[in-house]
């Protein structure tokens, strides 16, 4: 049996189709209802409650905690304030991305790092001669994401205080029904939202409180299928789907640098030292070979492919996670590949996240994308788009 999260007693009875998937060795709901539709719309329209407990979580404390993190991640941790959260990738010595996650500064010498894959050993290797304690708190910390335009009002009711002062990528602490929680204004949806971190033994009580506070506002428990669509709209990449960790890659071509993933903004070049600094700097000088971009499939051209076969256009109802070839506008040369895609019911656009050769990466560059219709590979027109596809004001407001 795979492991279950601290919220399983609540989530299992809700799962109408027994629709589970794996995440870091745990079972989590793909969708609770038979279709993930309503869960998706809750993210954009009311509020969605997600069990994100399978994330890896490390508590890093001690006089040199910031120094350790600054060695590991590409962003400048030393300069963050207490109460701030950073999104950041981290790299190996060659500047190839290992993983990405968030660093929350809980106190002057205390941080929480989240990641998609285990990183304890890597952190330990980097901590030599530093005064720092690294603890894997993954199992004893549960996490919930509350995402959507009504997330704030619901959470305010649950913690019984105003949260307007908690800005985007900041944190605060509070109590829900007498249980201590840390609240970060973060999430994986690109919407207004919070993540709530608590002791695993308090998770059920917090879930119940949020559902109760949220019911008048249309809160909906939400699984991973809906989240996957939201994160594509938000242009957020996913390890093992959009890129391969350099720890897992078998050949160099499978690896990516932060610049190849268009994460330039996360690299603090002025930091004295961090893993991969020199190679990434050199890469910045010559310019990266690849870029990670949004690619929108042209509707009319897609529709034509279907109409020519006497069919109404069919679109994926879920996000896909396969590699799909991209060609130049003339369809001659393959110049990249999309790694995630979905039809956005919100934007009414067919969106993909893709790796393209750098010279094809500027917005509106015309491309072609492979589409398989009736067992045959065909091409539809597509174009490069700026990420994120969807970026509502409320996310930061």
């Amino acid at each position: 049996m795979l492991r279950t999260t601290p919220l399983h007693d609540r989530t299992a009875p809700l799962n109408q189709g027994r629709n589970w998937r794996r995440w870091a060795g745990f079972t989590v709901a793909s969708s609770y209802e038979l279709s993930h539709d309503r869960e998706y719309f809750a993210i954009r329209n009311s509020a969605a409650l997600l069990d994100v407990s399978p994330l890896f979580k490390y508590h890093i404390a001690g006089r040199d905690a910031a120094r350790l993190l600054d060695r590991v991640v590409t962003r400048d941790v030393g300069r963050t304030q207490v109460g701030q959260v950073l999104y950041t990738p981290w790299c190996d010595a060659r500047g190839k991305v290992i993983d990405d996650g968030t660093v929350a500064r809980l106190a002057e010498h205390s941080f929480r790092l989240t990641s998609a894959e285990p990183n304890l050993r890597w952190l330990g290797d980097n901590a030599r001669r530093l005064d720092v304690r690294i603890e894997d708190v993954s199992d004893r910390t549960a996490a919930l994401a509350l995402q959507g335009p009504s997330a704030r009002v619901i959470l305010e009711r649950a913690v019984e205080r105003d949260l307007a002062a908690v800005q985007y990528f900041r944190l605060t602490t509070g109590q829900v029904r007498g249980r201590d929680v840390t609240i970060t204004r973060t999430g994986y949806t690109g919407d207004l939202g919070y993540e709530i971190w608590m002791d695993a033994t308090d998770a059920i009580a917090v879930w119940d409180a949020l559902i109760e506070a949220g019911t008048p506002y249309g809160i909906v428990p939400c699984g991973i299928l809906a989240l996957d669509m939201a994160r594509i709209e938000a242009g957020l990449l996913l390890l093992d789907v959009d890129y391969v960790s350099s720890n897992q890659a078998l050949i160099d071509a499978q690896m990516s640098t932060p610049l190849e993933l268009s994460l330039d903004w996360t690299v603090a070049f002025d930091k004295p030292q961090f893993n991969g600094r020199l190679p990434i700097r050199a890469e910045r000088e010559r310019g990266p070979e690849w870029r990670f971009v949004g690619v929108e499939v042209d509707w009319v051209s897609l529709e034509d492919v279907f109409t020519s076969l006497g069919l109404a256009p069919r679109l994926p109802t879920q996000a896909w996670r396969t590699s799909v070839p991209l060609y130049d506008a003339n369809g001659i040369e393959q110049i990249g590949y999309a790694t995630s895609g979905c039809w956005s019911p919100l934007l009414k656009k067919y969106l993909t996240l893709a790796h393209v050769e750098a010279r094809y990466s500027s917005p509106d560059t015309p491309l072609q994308i492979e589409v398989t219709v009736e067992h045959r590979r065909r091409r539809a027109q597509a174009a490069v788009r700026r990420l994120p596809f969807f970026n509502p004001e409320r996310k930061r407001a």
Partner: protein
């Protein structure tokens, strides 16, 4: 100060309903200087959201969107301008015996449900769905097409007829026969060929009578089944459902797109006259006396209003005036909007559940629906009406204060020409009949009501200007569709007056929040090249 202003525009659009706004947006995008003149203080016409009671937002008239053309959503970038369409998943029909019939978003769930009623129907249901899909596919190109004139030998008309003909020739024999039946039969008879479960037929045929003065046994009503199915072939595009913020949000999004393209929108600006000179349009006069000059005037009002009220007969050919007089409008629907402090508790499915996220159809039997029509035939509102109910606040919680709800009840029949005419007492009696009929299936309804807004066809006409309150600006009867809509020879958005165009629901392809008339008219105006 009256009559003092004289402004010039390339085009004046009369009426800020969704079609007028779509038309203005397309014209503005083509570089025309356009103004939309709307009589009311809000845009939207029959697609408006209004806060009738503080905190409670009603989609006052239209309440779901199913036909809005995907090309318009794309061209005008409506999602960027605020359009968001949320899913409306299911339909349940409560029955007199305490049971119900449901169709759900999930195919297996629907099949299991139908099997409870009839194994045969459960199987027929899929086949029927596929047939309707084929029919809709065949008819769909027509929605995006300017109707050709079958009596004309002009090359464009011949090409159009050819395309039209090809569409039908491409149908298999069985499909062609089915289409012919759809065009001629009553929805009841058509459905009898498919299903045996009475409540299923009642619910399906009810969707075929929406907005018409026909009963489920009136020949020709089957076509409306198809009209409503049309939205479903854009299934993949997901344009079917409930607009966040109510149907007014659709109009607002289109208005935003029009403004972004440079169109001007004037509210509280009723037009009193369309001015012409020597068979050419010259502009409009507003009720306040302002005159606007333009070589193009586009009216989104129904033809009776446009040609019989805003123009004088001597400006139009006699024959045309006769055709417009004959154009059948006949309102048959009313609307009741409720503010609730709790949701109705249906005896057939107690408590709050998934069914509140979909439609509730009050169509328990064929007989019920037919009897409802009988009342109307003899000039009364239905004492036990057919109703199509949705709960917008369940789908979009921001439609009502937290924990409270709004309920939209579309009601048929409420004839516009009710015996003795509509008055306040009849309105209340109509409202009471609606609540009584709901109470049969949801006994807590009366106590749940905080506020009730009752709209008779007369009210619909008074507020929106829709003649006789007909929701489609004229019936979707075969004799007034396609190249006959609204009048033979004048289906191409043009009129006998040069420079005067029409773009409302009274034009091809007909009513509903579709926008097709607005868009196609703009295309024709550009084609004519008048400026």
């Amino acid at each position: 100060m009256t009559g003092s202003t004289r402004e010039r525009y390339d085009a004046v659009v009369i009426g800020g309903g969704h079609n007028g706004l779509v038309n203005a947006a397309y014209l503005a995008r083509a570089g025309r200087k356009v103004v939309v003149l709307e009589r009311r203080h809000v845009v939207g016409g029959a697609a408006v959201t209004e806060e009738v009671v503080p905190g409670f937002r009603f989609s006052v008239f239209s309440y779901v969107v199913s036909l809005l053309r995907p090309e318009i959503i794309r061209d005008l970038e409506l999602p960027r301008h605020g359009l968001e369409i949320l899913p409306l998943e299911s339909t349940i029909t409560p029955m007199f015996n305490g049971d119900y019939l449901g169709t759900w978003a999930d195919h297996d769930q629907t099949r299991q449900e139908l099997v409870r009623h009839s194994r045969r129907d459960a199987e027929a249901y899929d086949t029927y769905g596929r047939l309707m899909h084929h029919m809709a596919m065949a008819v769909k190109p027509i929605l995006a097409m300017v109707p050709p004139d079958p009596t004309s030998l002009a090359p464009s008309d011949l090409r159009g007829m050819l395309k039209f003909g090809r569409t039908f020739r491409s149908l298999s024999r069985t499909h062609f026969h089915a289409l012919y039946k759809l065009m001629t039969m009553s929805s009841g008879d058509f459905l009898d060929e498919w299903f045996e479960t009475d409540v299923l037929k009642a619910t399906k045929s009810a969707s075929g009578i929406i907005g018409t003065f026909m009963g489920p046994r009136t020949p020709g009503s089957a076509y409306v089944l198809l009209h409503h199915y049309m939205g479903e072939i854009d299934g993949a595009f997901r344009a079917w459902g409930f607009a966040k913020g109510g149907t007014g949000a659709i109009s607002t999004a289109i208005a935003n797109a029009a403004r972004a393209a440079g169109a001007e929108i004037r509210l509280n600006a009723p037009v009193s006259r369309i001015t012409t000179s020597n068979g050419r349009v010259t502009g409009v006069v507003l009720e306040n006396g302002d005159q606007l000059q333009a070589n193009v005037v586009v009216t989104s009002l129904d033809p009776k209003r446009s040609f019989l009220a805003l123009m004088s007969e001597d400006e139009l050919p006699d024959e045309f005036v006769q055709d417009i007089r004959r154009y059948r409008i006949r309102g048959s629907s009313g609307k009741v909007n409720l503010a609730l402090h709790e949701l109705p508790d249906f005896t057939c499915l107690p408590g709050v559940g998934a069914h509140h996220r979909g439609a509730v159809s009050i169509s328990p039997s064929m007989r019920y629906v037919e009897t409802a029509f009988d009342d109307a035939k003899y000039g009364d509102f239905s004492r036990k009406p057919y109703m199509d109910i949705v709960f917008p606040s369940v789908i979009d919680p921001q439609m009502a204060p937290p924990g409270k709800h709004v309920m939209s009840v579309f009601v048929q029949y409420a004839p516009s020409n009710i015996r003795g005419g509509w008055d306040a007492a009849k309105r209340e009696a109509f409202g009471d009949a609606v609540i009584d009929a709901i109470e049969v299936f949801a006994p807590n309804i009366r106590g749940a009501i905080m506020h009730r807004q009752v709209l008779t066809p007369q009210d619909i006409e008074d507020i929106t200007g829709l003649t006789e309150g007909n929701i489609f600006q004229g019936e979707l009867a075969l004799h007034q569709l396609f190249f006959l809509r609204p009048a033979p020879g004048w289906a191409k958005f043009r009129t006998p007056v040069r420079g005067l165009y029409q773009c409302g629901s009274a034009t091809h392809p007909g009513g509903g929040i579709m926008g097709a008339g607005g868009r196609l008219a703009a295309i024709e105006i550009r084609r004519d090249g008048v400026r």
